[in-house]
């Protein structure tokens, strides 16, 4: 993300370069001469500073080929010729200006390149590097190849290449190969590779930004060794003497190859208005008279690549006679980039601003079908579902996740479940999130008592973006299930009616269980707390009474499960107090009774008495004493259930129940977490049952 941001800024800045870049003209003199190994025996002012050049150049780039043809030149980096020619060059620079060398020189065997810059301008150059590539013997030796100097000037990078490419008329493919080699292998290190290091230059690869390709201006000069094809010597010389140079140019291999895009792609060459610079009898202007009698050719050339480069002149210098080549020179006026820092800064700020805008636009965005989810009439153990639709309305894929609030470990309340809690949504797509509320024995008590409410705020977090708060709310219909015995015995009317405030008389029912006399008073006062509490919760009575009436003979009673839907109806019936007859099968009623006991917030035998009860379960007298310590209503329920169980056992012939099973069932139902004590618990239950 960050690096792509950087790349984008770079690209934008490059594209808008002209908005903040000015061009400053610099005059660049380039010269090339194949000196054929001759000593520096004559002045070279005619070449480097001819009389017509009134204005001194800012930069000199001077290339020699065949500077030293001695065997020593291959072996030693020092060369006497080098020093001699260097002195000659210094003497010949334009007298109207003072020059400093950019690099002393770079030389590979016979190829030497010297670059000078006008005094005062040296402060504007930086990152000076040089490199050499040998393409001669074995493809690496320095008898052929190229040397180059590269440097930054203001905000441009300049590169000068001096090369001596392979020769021969019949083999004009060779120079191309050499050209490509130099191009690909010319990588600039921070040091000059000495000529006797026979190591291919690509070992000195530092970074691709250092290759020739990345210079804003490249000037390529040298003895490129392209000849004239398809023309014989006499015809050639005739055209020259007739001054029909443009006609002769059609036979030039380099011109042909460039037009066929085989070589020097993107390079330009100025119009040649000078006669071929090769081959002369040394010391004269006479065409080669040796045995070989070479056809004249424009071997020595200067080409360039890059924008804002204008060629002022392109010429040869006939006055320099000591070699079989004539020197060539060209003066360029080239626009060097100078960045206006203030303008650049402005453009940069613009680019950044645009990018900031995009970054914000590319933040993940979603729309949700609702910010508030309301569940209606939630009942105990009855699942309610709602759907939240999350739509990706942004421009990037979104990963969302419900995250916990700081004080919580879970992202939602225990009565709520959310599926999925995290997902990835592609651009334009939607995701359905299913929310369901289910109140069970863990969450029921506090909701029944009003201590807790169906209220939650979900934090829907978008990865790398904003958070949305989804409010979940609902009304819970209190139930007798999961209410405490103490509450229930003080509730004289059905639970659902309590909140409405209306009073409904609860008819005291004559107990069918004659061992217990239940005196359920009729509620007559609007303030139930002033009335004496019921002996046992009426709901337990109704469930037991129903079983007593309709289930005593039922085979598999308590062994066969009831139906969940019927249990919900039974719950409603108990909570609403109507209809009088409990719905569903006796199995459902039996399970409802077990459930009722199981979800009591405080079990029939309260937690605090539990250990003691286990302790005394083998001793009938002590057990009776402990029983007396239970709260009245709990004791009543206990006695009532036990009485009921005993009644059930009387019918064991038909319902096939035994004391052990019932003991397990009833006493573990609401103490299921204490299974370790199961054996002793059911032992106790049998004992207690026997006691009655």
């Amino acid at each position: 993300m960050e690096s792509s941001r950087d790349n984008h800024i770079k690209l934008q800045m490059r594209e808008r370069e002209s908005d903040y870049t000015n061009l400053q003209p610099y005059r660049i003199f380039c010269g090339t001469w194949n000196v054929n190994g001759q000593q520096a025996s004559e002045a070279i002012n005619e070449w480097l500073c001819p009389a017509e050049d009134s204005e001194p150049p800012d930069i000199y780039a001077i290339g020699f080929q065949e500077l030293d043809l001695s065997k020593n030149a291959y072996i030693f980096s020092e060369s006497v010729r080098e020093e001699d020619w260097y002195k000659r060059i210094k003497e010949a620079l334009h007298p109207k200006a003072k020059y400093k060398k950019v690099v002393k020189l770079v030389r590979l065997v016979g190829m030497m390149l010297v670059v000078f810059i006008r005094k005062g301008l040296e402060l504007e150059i930086y990152d000076v590097m040089s490199g050499t590539v040998g393409t001669g013997i074995m493809g690496v030796m320095g008898n052929k190849g190229g040397v180059a100097v590269r440097f930054g000037l203001r905000d441009s990078t300049l590169c000068f290449v001096n090369s001596h490419l392979a020769a021969h008329t019949v083999e004009f493919e060779r120079p191309h190969t050499d050209f490509k080699d130099i191009n690909s292998r010319m990588l600039f290190g921070n040091r000059t590779i000495s000529d006797h290091e026979l190591v291919p230059c690509f070992f000195f690869f530092f970074s691709s930004e250092n290759s020739l390709l990345f210079c804003s201006i490249v000037i390529w000069l040298g003895d490129l060794n392209y000849r004239l094809s398809d023309i014989d010597n006499d015809a050639c010389k005739k055209l020259i003497s007739d001054g029909r140079l443009q006609e002769l140019m059609k036979y030039d291999q380099l011109v042909r190859q460039i037009s066929q895009k085989n070589v020097f792609l993107d390079y330009l060459e100025g119009k040649i208005s000078f006669i071929p610079t090769y081959k002369y009898d040394p010391g004269t202007d006479t065409w080669d008279t040796s045995e070989k009698c070479r056809t004249p050719a424009w071997c020595d050339r200067i080409l360039w690549r890059g924008s804002n480069v204008g060629q002022l002149c392109y010429r040869s210098h006939m006055a320099c006679k000591l070699s079989d080549h004539k020197p060539v020179s060209s003066i360029f006026e080239s626009g060097i980039k100078v960045i206006d820092r203030a303008k650049q800064r402005q453009v940069y700020e613009d680019v950044m601003k645009q990018l900031d805008k995009w970054e914000n636009e590319f933040l993940p965005q979603v729309e949700v079908s609702t910010m508030e989810i309301k569940f209606k009439d939630i009942k105990f153990i009855e699942q309610k579902k709602e759907i939240l639709v999350v739509s990706n309305t942004g421009q990037v894929p979104v990963q969302f996740e419900f995250i916990p609030k700081p004080s919580d470990t879970n992202f939602c309340e225990p009565w709520l479940s959310v599926e999925p809690s995290k997902a990835v949504i592609s651009v334009g797509a939607k995701c359905e999130v299913h929310l369901s509320v289910y109140v069970n024995k863990d969450t029921g008590p506090s909701l029944n008592s009003g201590k807790a409410r169906i209220e939650d705020i979900l934090v829907l977090h978008l990865d790398g973006g904003k958070d949305l708060f989804i409010t979940v709310s609902g009304n819970y219909i209190p139930s007798s299930f999961s209410s405490s015995i103490e509450t229930l015995v003080r509730m004289f009317k059905p639970v659902t009616d309590v909140e409405t405030g209306s009073l409904i008389e609860i008819v005291s029912a004559s107990t069918s269980l004659q061992h217990l006399i239940l005196t359920i008073d009729q509620a007559s006062s609007p303030n139930p707390s002033e009335d004496p509490p019921l002996d046992i919760p009426k709901e337990i009575w109704r469930l037991v009474d129903h079983l007593y009436k309709y289930g005593m003979e039922q085979d598999e009673l308590f062994r066969q499960p009831g139906l969940h839907s019927e249990i919900q109806l039974i719950r409603d019936c108990l909570d609403q107090g109507k209809p009088r007859l409990l719905p569903g099968s006796v199995h459902s009623v039996a399970e409802a009774l077990l459930l009722f006991l199981e979800v009591l917030p405080e079990p029939v035998v309260p937690y605090e008495h539990y250990d003691l009860c286990l302790h005394v379960c083998d001793n009938f007298t002590q057990a009776k004493q402990v029983l007396q310590r239970l709260p009245t209503s709990h004791r009543n329920v206990f006695k009532y259930i036990c009485a009921f169980l005993r009644e059930l056992l009387k019918h064991s012939a038909s319902n096939f129940l035994d004391a052990r099973f019932l003991g397990e069932l009833h006493l573990n139902g609401h103490q299921s977490s204490r299974t370790a004590h199961q054996t002793r618990a059911d032992h106790r239950s049998s004992l207690l049952c026997d006691a009655f």
């Binding site: 905000d155 914000n360 933040l363 705020i457 829907l460």
Partner: protein, 217 residues
């Protein structure tokens, strides 16, 4: 290519807090998009915005969390205060209808103080300064409140953009100053600042950005 360093060297986390409807989201929008968002819906959640700014020649990325102002979300939004380097506490200059709003500001301030680190820069913003005719809070009394509590203070308009840039930048300058003078420990947990050292460049071109518009504090 010699341009300034492209990457940012710091990330500052900001939170925007304050009552519902005072214009927190509009301030964020004005700062990140330079546009006024009319008919901005109530934020139900926490919006997120980012912008890169420059202080003393340093590029700083601001990550801004704009919190829901509704009271019922207060408990949840408190969790976003942690690790904030800057807290922009916004009120509406036109709705000081009940003078007890001072208490309201105090309660936001208490939250900000309790839930952030001691060096978190708290900036009081009186928004809607364009509605001069409906002004109900004088500059002076708000300034006094800010001074008494050691807060930075500006009146802004998310609508016209007046002082919006300044409020966000001045906060950053103050944070940067705290870093420079060592009062904000970058290594401390939840400083709200991440330092991202940029790799040094090896070109000797004029790479350093001119810092004339730098830290004025």
């Amino acid at each position: 290519m010699a341009a300034g360093p492209y990457n940012y060297s710091y990330i500052f986390k900001y939170i925007i807090i304050g009552d519902m409807g005072v214009g927190k989201s509009c301030l964020l929008h004005q700062f990140t998009e330079k546009k006024f968002m009319a008919d901005c819906p109530h934020t139900i959640g926490v919006e997120f915005g980012t912008r890169i700014i420059e202080v003393a020649g340093q590029k700083i990325k601001l990550q801004i969390w704009d919190t829901a102002g509704q009271e019922r979300f207060r408990a949840v939004t408190r969790s976003y205060y942690r690790g904030a380097a800057g807290a922009l506490m916004v009120y509406d200059i036109t709705t000081f209808i009940v003078r007890s709003t001072y208490n309201h500001l105090s309660s936001w301030l208490t939250d900000a103080r309790n839930l952030t680190n001691p060096n978190t820069v708290i900036f009081l913003i009186g928004n809607k300064s364009d509605l001069e005719a409906q002004r109900d809070v004088t500059y002076e009394e708000a300034k006094q409140f800010a001074d008494e509590n050691g807060l930075m203070f500006l009146e802004c308009s998310a609508k016209t953009g007046e002082n919006v840039e300044e409020a966000f930048l001045d906060t950053a300058k103050k944070i940067y100053q705290n870093i420079q003078d060592g009062s904000l420990d970058l290594n401390a947990a939840e400083s709200g600042v991440q330092h991202k050292p940029t790799t040094p460049r090896n070109t000797l071109s004029n790479d350093q950005p001119q810092s004339k518009d730098g830290c004025a504090c």
